[in-house]
Amino acid sequence: MNHLPVSIGYEIKRLRKEKKITQAELCEGICSQAEISKVENGKNSPTIDLLQQVAKRLKVPLSMLFQDHLRSDVFQSYDEQLADLLRTNQYVDALKLSEHVLSTTEYEQVRNLARYYQVIVQERSGQIHYLKAVQSLERLLNKEQLSFESATLYLRIQMGMANLYVEHGDFELADDLFQNLIQAKYETIELKKVRIKILYNYGQQLLLQKKYLAGLKITEQGIQESLQLEDGHFLGHFYFQMGYFKQQLNGDLSDIQRDFTMAYSLFCAFDMPIHEKRLLEEYAEYVLFPI
């Protein structure tokens, strides 16, 4: 099913209401009110010419009408809820929510997200064997159009597979996947941000394998790319990793202190109390702040 006209209509209506314009005012000299009403309700597929005129009247750039707020809101909201349930080991609720999504949402991208979580939760809670989980993810990955429709999800599923390998000690398979992933092309900012997450996960794998030097290299790369994007999501995690690697490699004490201190200040500044607490539990001695 094609959602484009629906999302465009939703966007036009949203912007029109935000700017307190009536349908009649919006369509004057452009098209009939009946037509704009159909467009807003997603019943008509508008032409680009029409959209350009509407955008002009709404005083927004044309590109804004294509921001799929409806879908990205739904996607993001479920993603956050499911990730939360997973993090706090609430498997029953996570499965219930995935099923709810599958039975109520028509957005294929959101459905695929739910399917992805379903597999991860089923494996975590011991309902399916991990190799079967990997297989299911592979199947999801090979679904037609997935790589086109949601490059982000496509990468995340692969990362999910790599993480499963890591958790079960299949480091070689994980390594192959991660290597593949970091060699892929990341053209948009959104994808570049996914890449940062991948670098972090790869660093975690190398940590578990005690490959500290290789891990340090990946971590440094993660820091560099985060700074280029001015993206703070994983910066604290990276400095934490770096401190750990240097500690294992018997690096300079002042270097290690610096890394853990920067990680600590990032977790505090960006309001990430769980990470802050975890850092203090084990590495408080390296943090230069008075605690």
């Binding site: 010419d49 005083k59 044309l62 294509f66 799929d68 086109f148 490059a151 703070g232 201190t261 230069l288």
Partner: protein
Amino acid sequence: MRIESFGKQIKQLRIERKLTQKELAKDVCSQAELSKIENGKTIPTIDLVQRLSQKLHISMDQIFIDSNEVKLFQRYEVQLADFSRQRRYDEMLDFMRCLPTSLPPSVQLLIRYFEWVAREGKKDIDYRTCISQLLRLSDEQQMETEYPVLYLRIRMSVANYYYLNSQYPYARKIYQELLTYDYSTDTLKKLQCKILYNHAQQLYFQNDFVTGLEITEKGLALSVERKDTAMLGHFFYQKGCFYEELSYAERDIRDAFTYAYSLFTAFGNENHAALVLKGKNQFLYFQM
């Protein structure tokens, strides 16, 4: 982006992704049709645009943004802002005179903006003239709609001229307008942080520490929400300065400055880390 340049955009995206027309057209439309679209002879339907966007791995809103124009805009912006900061106004005007005439519209507007800045800098024109010209430029049709970044930038610089010439109430009025602006995209939210920072900075120098702190807190919250590193260190530094003036507890002041110092270091911003170290050394818990 004007719809007429859409074809060029598709062609450029295709070439960047190293696809042939045949490869891109596969399962989307005929090669002949794609060729017509690229040459601007056909305006595609939105369904077709959607299928193209999927194959090009780009979202539907991004596909209508001319990345070349954006890059060009950024390049000239950095270059001209450098001239302006170093007060090299004659060179700046020479540089602008030698630019090709066929630049995209947003870049042309950018150049017009910097022309007024340079002429005011040379004192060819009075600051009041500069302000009224800039206000006129920012009110030009389509400016706010098509080039919100430039619009906000010009408004910000008007506020700055008022401020530099001690017209504080006027400066404040412009900033108050900017506070209510609808920052709807990521790029605009980034700019919003910068606006909040500048506003708070001016309030600090006007000794309005209470309002200034409020603005800083707003900028901090926005940076944290977006996990944006660009201004975070600066906001902590500002917070420390306001705390100092408002006689907050010693501990709060020390926290703010030490965070600023530590964050500047983490962000690889050594110049600012060194400045905190030099100016606020007595408040820092440690030196790294």
